[in-house]
Amino acid sequence: MRLEKCWFCSSTVYPGHGIQFVRNDAKIFRFCRSKCHKNFKMKRNPRKVKWTKAYRRLHGKDMTQDSTFEFERKRNRPERYDRNLAENTLKAIKKIDKVRVDREARHHALRMKGKKAKEQREAAKELEQGIHMVKAPAVLEKEPSLTLPKIKVKVSRPQAEENHPMEE
């Protein structure tokens, strides 16, 4: 049993899932689900399809080089079963995954750094440019502050009678 990688999206294909396509030159393409298979049949290039790992790595959205990837290299020589080795490997897999996830989170944080400050600057500029949509310019000249002062208006009687035709 071997966990393969989907040719299109690079996710793991577990046994019992997906389709293998053998081309006439004997190259095998493995797909994790029919979505990837259908995209392949449409001759789409995974490096141009946004949700695939190939695109993300190519465009710097995900980590490309890391020492944790070395552990997942494909090994063609089968190893003799050793209980200790198997146990240690299982423990190591967990630890390596944790390390890898942490590093990816750090990479993501680094990528998103400065986004909040940038958003706030853009929002302030937009408010400054578009303040005429919020308040009339004539009022702005009178009162340069951003909040409207509270004005009390006395309501006269005839308003109660006006509602009846509107209700009909």
Binding site: G16, I19, F21, V22, N24, A26
Partner: protein, 120 residues
């Protein structure tokens, strides 16, 4: 899913290029043939100067289908074309070389010679 009138490529060097299925050997009324089934076919296209001739009726075993082959462990394999290897009455291939990928299931159908000649 090969049925009569299906054109198949030939995956060996016996001299034929294209076959057309006429009949599926096995039970009567069998609708479709899959990988590992023997069919009766007529040769539609030949390579010139070879022992086989056009419109000769021969037997062949199917080695590749565009329809998926399902394995017991859940693996599904699909090929790019429909192909067959020409055999004689006993099941020995007529050609001496096999082209293209061959699936291991043929070994269970007792076509060991074909599997041993296959490139991968």
């Amino acid at each position: 899913m090969i049925q009569p009138q299906t054109h198949l490529n030939v995956a060996d060097n016996s001299g034929a290029r294209e076959l057309m299925c006429i009949r599926i050997i096995g039970t009567s009324n069998r609708r479709y043939a899959h990988i590992g089934d023997v069919i009766v076919a007529v040769i539609k296209e030949v390579v010139p100067n070879m022992p086989l001739e056009r419109s000769e009726v021969i037997k062949a075993v199917i080695v590749r289908t565009c329809k998926e082959l399902k394995r017991d462990n859940g693996m599904i394999i699909r090929y790019d074309d429909n192909a067959a290897v020409i055999i004689d009455q006993e099941g020995n291939p007529k050609g001496t070389r096999i082209f293209g990928a061959i699936v291991r299931e043929l070994r269970q159908f007792h076509f060991t010679k074909i599997v041993s000649l296959a490139p991968e």
